[in-house]
């Protein structure tokens, strides 16, 4: 089950405009990682790079020491699952059917789910606490429920790595906490989880490792800081990359930011 994900000297440009430069990251199984950065910093793009959805211009993403560009989508989907940002599901699929889509990478075109697959699907439904919804139509669910359906699909994919693109962006506070606890429990079960965040307090509370993406002086984006909340959430980083000042308090769990204020003169 153990799998490694690495990025080596990755550079990426969008429409010939350089976006990322020299991204070097190493991930280990069981890590719970938060990806932070301001709007437009490139969190989603970095997740898409790690998933092989977009191709790096130079450098490579290594999945189990093989370049992700040389692995078929089906094989990637058996290693890395992805929970997209959009939880807009306008079509009337049943919850059960949508979670079952997570088994797609393991099944042929005409194969039905076996008893083994069904057990995995039910387990995913139970882990995300949506067993009671299994017969509902996804377009009638609340956004918190839809988010959990998509996480259940990623769990049903049974991958060692799960990437989340702003999974709590459209949820109320209770569902935010529930979702983050779910992500935490997944990494405690040995999965590598990488989550894009906006809320720095929640990020530092739930994730022992933070990765800050931001813009360098030359206008190109890269990894600014990578480490524990104390190392990443410094006054300088907050001012430069989030345009805020805050009281940085060290707590038992890590760091908490109080009295967050915007810096006006940007």
């Amino acid at each position: 089950m153990s799998s490694t994900l690495q990025s080596k000297h990755v550079c990426f440009s969008y429409n010939k405009r350089p976006l990322f430069e020299d991204i070097n990251l190493n991930f280990k199984p069981g890590e719970c990682i938060a990806l932070i950065g301001a709007n437009g910093a490139g969190k989603s793009t970095l997740l898409q790079l790690l998933l092989g959805l977009v191709k790096a211009q130079s450098g490579e993403i290594l999945l189990n020491d093989t370049s992700i560009a040389n692995i078929s989508r089906k094989k990637i989907a058996q290693q890395v699952a992805f929970v997209p940002q959009s939880i807009n599901l306008p079509y009337a699929f049943r919850v059960q059917a949508l979670v079952a889509m997570g088994r797609t990478p393991y099944l042929g075109a005409f194969e039905f789910e076996t008893a083994h697959d069904k057990a995995i699907i039910n387990l995913a439904l139970r882990k995300t606490d949506i067993s009671h919804l299994h017969d509902r139509l996804v377009n009638t669910l609340s956004s918190g429920e839809r988010q959990r359906v998509l996480i259940a699909r990623a769990i049903a994919q049974q991958t060692p790595t799960i990437l989340f693109d702003e999974p709590i962006a459209s949820l109320d506070i209770c569902h935010q906490i529930e979702t983050l606890q779910l992500i935490q429990s997944l990494s405690q079960a040995g999965k590598l989880t990488i989550t894009a965040f906006h809320d720095l307090n929640l990020a530092s509370y739930y994730c022992p490792r933070l990765i800050l993406i931001g813009t360098k002086e030359n206008g190109i984006k890269t990894i600014i800081a990578d480490g524990s909340p104390e190392q990443v959430l410094t006054a300088q980083n907050l001012a430069q990359h989030f345009s805020i000042t805050a009281d940085i308090c060290k707590t038992k769990e890590g760091v908490s930011l109080n009295k967050i204020r915007p810096i006006k003169n940007r």
Binding site: R73, P105, F110
Partner: protein, 345 residues
């Protein structure tokens, strides 16, 4: 509505019974009155190859060479247009996508007219479907490139690019017709072809459409799972391991081929590709495992039914099939558009 597995089986049985009923009625129905007993012995004779005739020979000719190809063509054309609608609505993630609305049908028509104008149709009858395929593919590819950005289609862009491509295709067809008017034989062939419909269709036409529809349908069955996930969005499909670019390309080729086959045999018949998949999605849900076979049958039922309707009620007037499908389909399209308007804001 038909949610459980059992209800779906009942639904499919109903569809199959309806197809069989329509086929029997269509075979019985026509300007010449041929009794059922004769038809039965015509088929028996044909299959057993014995020559004891209890019926006039012209009757066998009408049944085997006029009515039979006509109803096979009607079923195939309806089925292929409905299947194209299903695929396009899934690829474009948009309920308004269908062959006639996004300009693919008119692209196929332009290709066919070009084949007649250039004299290729005299060299080989297969040039018409081939050129139609090229025309349909080019139109579909242009609309696809314009309207799809980052896996999402904007409804306005999709419809506007479809309108623009259709207008271009239709004006190019008019131009070709105007240019060919000094050569009356070519002009007559173009006019006759553009009228479309099911009259005078022969086994040659069956050979053009039947293999394409059956093989495309078999290919499509491989894509029923990917189509489900693509309907949810590009990122969803990629994250569960579907090679979206390749799948989309193959599906676009298949739908161009089916539109081209339908258009080159019966001409542009609008709204089947829009309405049939919609009604079936409401009844059966969005899963393509059921939607694909249901559309195959549903499209066949619609066109067979429309043809029978025209034949029984307006037997003495030559009313094109497209009139019937448009009368039923256009209000439905407007209804969908009004529904979409609320989603747009």
């Amino acid at each position: 509505m038909f949610n459980s597995h059992k209800a779906k089986i009942i639904f499919f049985s109903l569809q199959i019974i309806l197809v069989i009923l329509l086929i029997i009625t269509s075979i019985l129905q026509g300007p010449a009155n041929i009794p059922f007993s004769h038809i039965a012995s015509i088929f028996k004779n044909y299959i057993l190859k014995n020559n004891q005739t209890s019926f006039p020979l012209w009757q066998a000719d009408i049944i085997l060479n006029v009515r039979l190809p006509r109803l096979i063509i009607a079923s195939c054309a309806g089925a292929s247009l409905a299947l194209c609608g299903v695929i396009m609505q899934s690829i474009f993630r948009n309920p308004l996508a269908s062959p006639s609305i996004i300009g693919v049908s008119s692209g196929a028509s332009l290709g066919a007219v070009l084949a007649i104008y250039g004299g290729f149709s005299i060299i080989s009858t297969w040039s018409i479907p081939f050129f139609a395929f090229v025309g349909a593919s080019i139109s579909l590819f242009i609309v696809y490139k314009i309207s799809l950005t980052r896996g999402e289609t904007n409804i306005a862009t999709l419809l506007l690019s479809g309108v623009a491509i259709s207008a271009l295709n239709i004006s190019a067809m008019s131009l070709l017709l105007a240019l060919s008017l000094n050569n009356w034989d070519v002009a007559r062939m173009i006019i006759y072809w553009t009228m479309g419909g099911l009259d005078g269709r022969t086994w040659d036409h069956v050979l053009m459409i039947l293999p394409i529809v059956t093989s495309s349908f078999c290919f499509l069955l491989f894509y029923s799972k990917p189509l489900n996930v693509i309907l949810l969005g590009e990122q969803h499909a990629l994250s569960v391991g579907i090679d979206v670019t390749r799948t989309r390309r193959n599906l676009l080729i298949i739908s161009s081929a089916m539109t081209a086959a339908a258009v080159s045999v019966v001409g542009g018949i609008g709204f089947i590709g829009l309405v049939v998949p919609h009604i079936l999605r409401l009844l059966l849900g969005p899963s393509h495992r059921y939607l694909l076979p249901a559309s195959l049958l549903g499209g066949a039922i619609t066109l067979l039914g429309a043809d029978l309707f025209v034949h029984t009620l307006f037997a003495d007037k030559a009313i094109p099939l497209g009139v019937i499908t448009a009368t039923l389909g256009a209000p439905f399209f407007l209804f969908l558009l009004v529904k979409q308007r609320t989603a747009l804001h």
